[in-house]
Subunit: 441 residues, 2 copies
């Protein structure tokens, strides 16, 4: 893609309305554009990042055997009255009357609707477990939307639901998601800690938040540093292996502030391992048994007996992750963003010095661009006439991990190439390709 | 995927509420489930088909240089007041008040919002053309939603928008979409005819509907049969080549009923080439100049002069296409659906005869299943204890193009294999793989 033809509307300065770095950077680099309070459009750069995140989330759901469906955004109020949450939910629920005056709503979450789908489709315990997920827009009418897409009103979320015959089986399902979440965030180069958490309006008695450390986080967290060393790479999706993984994590104290207890923290965590900091919630899993299946009468036949299914639900904030990755990765001091390769909008940038009367550098750049394209490397080439230092400054914000610079002293065998936060090297195109490909795998 | 573990809730009989074959088949094979009037959930089988259609649509947009963005579903009424369509749109627009009592709406289309994004982002004619698309849920509050996902309220649509400096350039953009639509539908094995059409509430003076022939279609169409022979394979996205393609099509009379004129039809189409039939609209493209850019003040600087941009818009009904393909491909008489390979939910089905006391056939089936999986062939294996004839009947409805049948006389070298609407052959696994792969390309 040529920068001059792309739709990447860069702002010259940080927008004053943005208070945190992800919001600033996303507006400044034209990743998003606000359309109303707490509602954003995703422009090509932001959209590409979000799509890559979505795809990682999808693959890791599929990897633990969850099936993808898609529920609509607009729901009938009837099922929420059945579960008893229609009144409870308060003003955060966007309530709508259609032209026939029916009470509808924009789904803030989907426990009710998926339970309705389940109860009319599955009759026998032999069809259990059922693990279903969807990735769909949700709406929560926040009183004070803020921090850009981190606390907005219309947001993109993966939510999954599990249906099992017993508590024991349900915990097995829960643990599958536990593992899949660790794998998901790892692929985005985030270290997300699972923390014992309150269940809040979803209900139930078992819940973990997955939190990444960031100064701008809204959650206070208290943890034992040794939790970062827990190894999940040898876990497979067998019952015992998953159960061991949970135990390995739960050895270490790790809670959000609703669950915080000073005495316990100090009793369980030796001084040198105590960590009190802030974090961003990027995932949340819940086990709530028959909280919805009972009032909504979602049961299966179990050898002639009617058995309410045991359910859990499992969320990942897909759009929020775009901001969370920026909060975790953006180097504010040096004004350098570096996207993890797995979610970067492009693999490599080419920055030629282009003069009005001399486009030889642009030709060289185009040559390299075509070569990289043939190797399936996705490249953004800055064909504008800006001077090099302002191009570099701009691309340091765009965050594409690799840069090729084509200036006065260009040489085929010693091309100026740098990882965005490192020193330049002077190497051949072949070596450049090797380096980029290495990072991609 | 094993059928017993899948979430494919099959109905024994055709649901009585469904009046057309796509609606019947989609409910019967568990592709969708209605959640409210005109609002559906997509279950795994239907979801897989829709996602494949979406991906084809996406690739063919990218192929003509359109950039993907994503606008939100909920819009502010302000921009619709600017364009003057807020009152015009009537009750089909789902109007919403948020908790702050602001007038919002669920976007039925996006001319206003994309114009708003454009006008604050692009300042100079040098950044033109800009071609943007998104694939997003829309809502139209139909008075009488019917025919399942063919005329529903919440639907999935690709809509694209072009911004140009002059009529001439804008027609060039229009023609790019014209070609990309032909390519899109061809990849789904649909022959869609471009027909001169009315512009309706979108406005403008140039418009084509892309219509596929189907008895159950809601559009009456009048066309010259020779239009099916027009060759677009040699067209490239240069101006002249595209312009010639338009001319080649427009030689033949081809209109929907709003534009129908009996005299012209009879004058221009020799008797033997006249075709009056029904069709389903699957795409619609519009050119409307400055209809939105003028009232909304979307202009660029053109050598010191302010110039309103010339716009067009381009829609494809992604969710509707699932139904349209069924209408075009389902053989009602023999109760056989055959998905085009490019959008089929699975590539191949394996139907073993499974008895309570003998699972040797299931083992053989699993072997073949693993072999095919290793070749990246996506397989659904029916591991239930239903008898073979009811399995075949069921899979004829599911529409997976290839079936492997494993019964009493199974032989490694002569496996029973059939294309769903053809006679069985007895061939080796190697030959089966070759046949499936051939069809996939």
């Amino acid at each position: 893609m040529y920068f001059s033809k792309s739709f990447i509307p860069i702002l010259k300065n940080n927008p004053t309305e943005a208070k945190i770095k992800s919001h600033q950077l996303m507006l400044r680099t034209g990743m998003i554009k606000q359309s109303s309070a707490g509602i954003y459009s995703w422009l090509p750069l932001g959209f590409k990042v979000m799509k890559k995140i979505e795809q990682i989330v999808r693959e890791e759901q599929n990897n633990v055997g969850v099936q993808e469906i898609l529920m609509p955004t607009i729901q009938s109020s009837d099922i929420w009255k059945e579960s008893g949450r229609y009144e409870d939910y308060g003003e955060e629920m966007l309530r709508i009357k259609d032209r026939q005056n029916r009470e509808m709503l924009y789904g803030p979450t989907n426990e009710e609707l998926v339970t309705e789908i389940f109860r009319t489709s599955i009759k026998s315990y032999k069809s259990l477990p059922q693990l279903l997920y969807h990735i769909q827009w949700k709406f929560r009418d926040e009183l004070r939307p803020r921090f850009g897409i981190m606390r907005c009103r219309e947001f993109y979320m993966k939510d999954a639901y599990s249906f099992d015959i017993s508590d024991d089986e349900a915990i097995y399902s829960y643990n599958k998601f536990f593992l899949s979440y660790l794998n998901t965030f790892k692929r985005m180069e985030l270290s997300a800690i699972p923390m014992a958490a309150d269940t809040g309006p979803i209900g139930g008695n078992l819940s973990h938040e997955f939190v990444i450390l960031a100064d701008t986080g809204e959650s206070k967290i208290y943890t034992d540093k040794r939790i970062f060393e827990v190894d999940s790479t040898k876990t497979n999706i067998e019952k015992n292996s998953l159960s061991k993984l949970r135990t390995d994590f739960e050895k270490y104290y790790s809670v959000t502030d609703e669950k915080f207890n000073k005495n316990e923290f100090e009793k369980n965590v030796p001084d040198e391992f105590r960590l009190q900091t802030k974090g961003i919630e990027v995932g949340h899993i819940f086990y709530f048994g028959d909280k919805y299946s009972k009032p909504m009468n979602a049961s299966v036949d179990y050898n002639g007996k009617k058995e309410f299914v045991k359910m859990g639900s499992y969320g990942i904030g897909v759009s929020r992750l775009v901001g969370a990755i920026i909060e975790a990765k953006y180097d504010d001091k040096n004004e350098i963003m570096k996207w993890p390769m797995s979610v970067s909008p492009y693999d490599c940038a080419i920055l030629p010095i282009v003069n009005k009367n001399d486009n030889s550098n642009l030709e060289k750049a185009t040559n390299i661009y075509n070569n990289l394209k043939n190797k399936n490397i996705d490249v953004l080439i800055d064909d504008t006439e800006e001077n090099l230092s302002s191009k570099v400054k701009k691309f340091n914000l765009l965050g594409i991990p690799f840069q090729i610079i084509i200036g006065k002293n260009f040489s085929e065998q010693k091309i100026e190439f740098k990882e965005i936060d490192k020193k330049p090297e002077f190497i051949s195109l072949e070596e450049i390709i090797k380096k980029i490909k290495n990072k991609s795998n």
